[in-house]
Every structure is written in structure tokens, then in C-alpha cells.
Amino acid sequence: MTENDDRGFKRDLLASLPNLRAFAVSLTGRHDKADDLVQDTIMKAWANQTSFTAGTNMRAWLFTILRNEFYSQMRKRGREVQDTDGLFSERFSVHPEQYGRLDLQDFRKALDKLPDDQREAIILVGAAGFAYEEAATICGCAVGTIKSRVSRARTRLQELLGVSGEGDFGPDAGHAAITARAFGS
């Protein structure tokens, strides 16, 4: 491998990092654990860069490494009890104008209630920007499986967010009143 290839590898890795890190936060529910996971992933990826085929999808390759690393660590340690509420409210209160919206925290809580396989499926397809086929490759399952997981995740999130009451969300009180009337409550 020439030095130019090395630089290209690093450049592509850097370009994928924000997205990879957001995926790690989604999986772990915590920024500190997510960053440890990203660090392990970078080291693995670096050590195995000869096994990466240049010109293929590096983002998908990195996501696969991170996902495998996450599940193998989880199997080793067992999943710890998470204080997601506290961590995220603390995290998001730093920039209230940007992240402090109550609905985002509620959404995070709902996301955490999903089974792992459904959560990763809806994140990969709905947020990280992967096609169903790519998500299936990353998760090592059939495309149909990913589709049904995404669909179940959506339904479950709807249920979870539906019961928490739209009236709690946002400043749009006028709309809440209209909704309340429309639903005859």
C-alpha cells in the first residue's frame, strides 16, 4: 500500500466518523461508552485496513466493525443498567436552544425501549442513510428481516410516543387544541 492510499484511508475514515459516532451513541445510549466503542473501532479498522477493498463502501465497512464490536463487548460484560434519562437530559441541557427540546428527550427514551435489533435497523435506514440492502449486510441478515424490523420499530415508537401525549410537545398550543377537538376529547 502506498502512502497515498494510507492518506486516503485516513481521510475516508475521518469523513465517516461523525456518522459512525452517532450510530455508536444510538446503540449504547451514552456518549462516554459510545466514544470508547468508536475508539475500539478505529483501532480495529486501522489494524485491518489491508482487508478493506479500496473503492468499496467504507462507511458500511466501519459500521459493520463497530456493530460487531458492540455486540461482542455486550456479550462479554452483559448489558449494564443504563441511566439514559439522566445522561441525556444532562447532555441536551448544555445547548437548550438546540437540543433542549423535551420531545427529543422523550424520543430518546422511546428509542431505548426498542429491542436492539429493531433500534439498529431503524437507525441505519432512517437516520444513518443506508439502503435496506446495506443495512442487511451490516447486520448480517436478510433484507426482508431489516424491513420488518424497521416497520415494527416504527409501530412501537408510534405507540410509545402516542401515549406520552402530544400536548407535552413544543410551543404549538394552538395546534394541540385543534388536535384535542378533532379527537373529541
Partner: protein, 69 residues
């Protein structure tokens, strides 16, 4: 059911046209999902990863120059 009809109509509106609070449940979930995800992405790359990559690069360079000698 007028509510159902309204929801069906809303489903056909593109994402850009959807105002907060007026969207069907699925669009609302997609929007929140991206909002949550983008908030993390926009934090950028923490310094520890830039440092790490630099160290990995240095280590590799050193290993190569040892081999050459």
C-alpha cells in the same frame, strides 16, 4: 372518517412541506429520529480521535522506517 382522510393527505406531502405539529405519526418519528441523530453528528469529531489517528499514523511510519533500515 375525516381524521383518516386527513392523515392520508398528510402522508403525500413531502418532508419539506411538513410543519412541526402538523405531521402524521410516521413522518414525525422519522423527523425526530433524524433530529436526534443529526444532533450527535453535528458535534463533530472529538480531539481524542484526531490524536489517536495521528498516533496510529506515526506508529505505522516508524514501523516502516525500521523495516527499511
Amino acid at each position: 372518517m375525516s381524521d383518516d382522510n386527513r392523515k392520508k393527505q398528510d402522508m403525500t406531502i413531502s418532508h419539506q412541506d411538513i410543519r412541526p405539529g402538523s405531521m402524521p405519526p410516521n413522518a414525525s418519528i422519522s423527523r425526530k429520529l433524524r433530529e436526534f441523530y443529526d444532533a450527535v453528528q453535528e458535534e463533530g469529531i472529538p480531539d481524542r480521535f484526531l490524536d489517536l489517528l495521528e498516533k496510529l499514523e506515526d506508529a505505522e511510519r516508524n514501523a516502516k522506517s525500521v523495516k527499511v533500515k
